[in-house]
């Protein structure tokens, strides 16, 4: 579950650099200097703004970039009275504000530079500056926003579902994949189903019966089969659970239904299963139950619990 969420987040990050534009994450109105300024004046700016380079502007247009290295060079060669224009680099690689982040990421990788000036594509004016930090911060922020939006949507959906159940209008389905022989995850599907039914605000006794029956069914899939699916349909009248597996199938369905009949091996019994009570339990918890099986093909178990009906068995 966690690994899944992290993976989703990673691909989401990768997607975002193809979706988000530079203008959204760059630092706007960056500190800049004029070309005729003295190099000695850079000291204060570099120190107080804690930056290692800045654009050089003339009438709003980029004419070069001057860096901490340029400053240090002047310092050591006694050229502090020179103008910035004399020491700035003029062959500057620029980015456009409406480029996607992926372009910037590639340029950072290709050049190894720490920052790029960002221009407006139409006017050619400097509009910002972009560092790797800006990209990381921008993507993180966007992810957070999307995360909250998704949460909100989930919450809305929940209310939606609940409304409709009470309004006797619609039916909807949950589906769970069940992995054979995976005892670490055994019971997760039924556990999740139970949580969802609780969120729907269904009566606790109904939830308990559906949860117990689906758990028994899920365990049978984990123990005896190579896996399968569980679909749960909820209508205003009843909850219907359909469980399919890919085999091996049950030779005698009536025998399997008998209390105490079990083919469980010792290692399964050691886990606390194999009492031969699972299928009878499902029958007891449900209002209707149908078990069909074909050797070599698989088994289909269907049971339903009425939402407003009466079940005398508990």
């Amino acid at each position: 579950m966690l690994a899944m969420a992290q993976k989703e987040e990673l691909t989401k990050q990768q997607e975002l650099i193809y979706e988000m534009r530079i203008g959204l994450v760059m630092t706007k109105n960056p500190v800049s200097v004029a070309p005729e300024m003295q190099m000695s004046k850079l000291r204060e700016i570099l120190q107080t703004k804690r930056i290692s380079g800045m654009p050089v502007l003339e009438n709003g247009f980029l004419v070069g970039m001057v860096s901490l290295e340029d400053f240090i060079e002047c310092l050591t060669s006694d050229a502090m009275n020179d103008s910035v224009a004399k020491h700035m680099s003029t062959d500057v690689i620029t980015l456009f504000e409406n480029d996607f982040l992926v372009t910037a990421v590639r340029e950072f990788e290709r050049t190894g530079f720490g920052r790029f000036p960002v221009l407006n594509r139409e006017t050619g004016e400097l509009v910002g500056i972009l560092t790797k930090g800006d990209i990381l911060r921008g993507v993180a922020k966007k992810l957070e926003v999307e995360f909250h939006r998704a949460e909100k949507k989930r919450y809305k959906n929940k209310m939606h579902i609940l409304d409709h159940v009470q309004a006797d209008e619609t039916r909807f389905t949950f589906q769970y994949h069940i992995v054979g022989n995976d005892f670490n995850r055994a019971g997760e599907a039924a556990g999740n189903l139970k949580k969802n039914l609780k969120r729907l605000g269904l009566p606790p006794e109904i939830i308990r019966r559906v949860a117990i029956a689906s758990y028994e069914a899920e365990m049978n899939l984990v123990i005896y089969t190579s896996g399968g699916y569980m679909t749960v349909r909820i209508s205003p009248e009843m909850i219907t659970v359909n469980v399919f597996d890919n085999g091996p199938g049950i030779p005698d369905v009536n025998q399997a239904m008998q209390e105490g009949y079990s083919t469980a091996e010792n290692r399964i019994r050691d886990l606390g299963f194999g009492a031969g009570m699972g299928l009878p339990n499902i029958k007891k918890c449900s209002d209707e139950m149908l078990l069909r099986s074909k050797i070599g093909k698989g088994t289909n178990l269907r049971f339903s619990v009425k939402l407003y009906g009466k079940n005398d068995d508990n």
């Binding site: 019971g187 606790p204 308990r208 758990y215 028994e216 365990m219 606390g272 339990n281 007891k284």
Partner: protein, 119 residues
Amino acid sequence: MQLREIIKILECKILNSFSNLDLEIAHGSGCDQMSDVLAYVKSDALLLTGLTNTQVIRTADIADVKAVCFVRGKTIDSKIIQLSEEMKIPLLSTKLPMFEACGRLYKAGLKGCEENGIG
């Protein structure tokens, strides 16, 4: 019977952080078969069990078991404790064997799951 009383009677160790001592427990059951737990244990019960695997916790969650107590002082895997935290199920352990643990609680007045008329 409150959980704190059960802890005193069975001389329990508390294994996770969800052991609200005021929790009201109406029934007790001693069970090593998960299907039996699902079939007979009531939703406000304490489950005493000699089994120590994560399936115990999953089963307890499904059956609305209020609290789980492992008997005979078995060592409990951290995975089990972690899952019980997730499921918010109080987890205890006692050195007593099953028979004695059940006996002490029954003597102190904790009801079984088949009593009070409903089966």
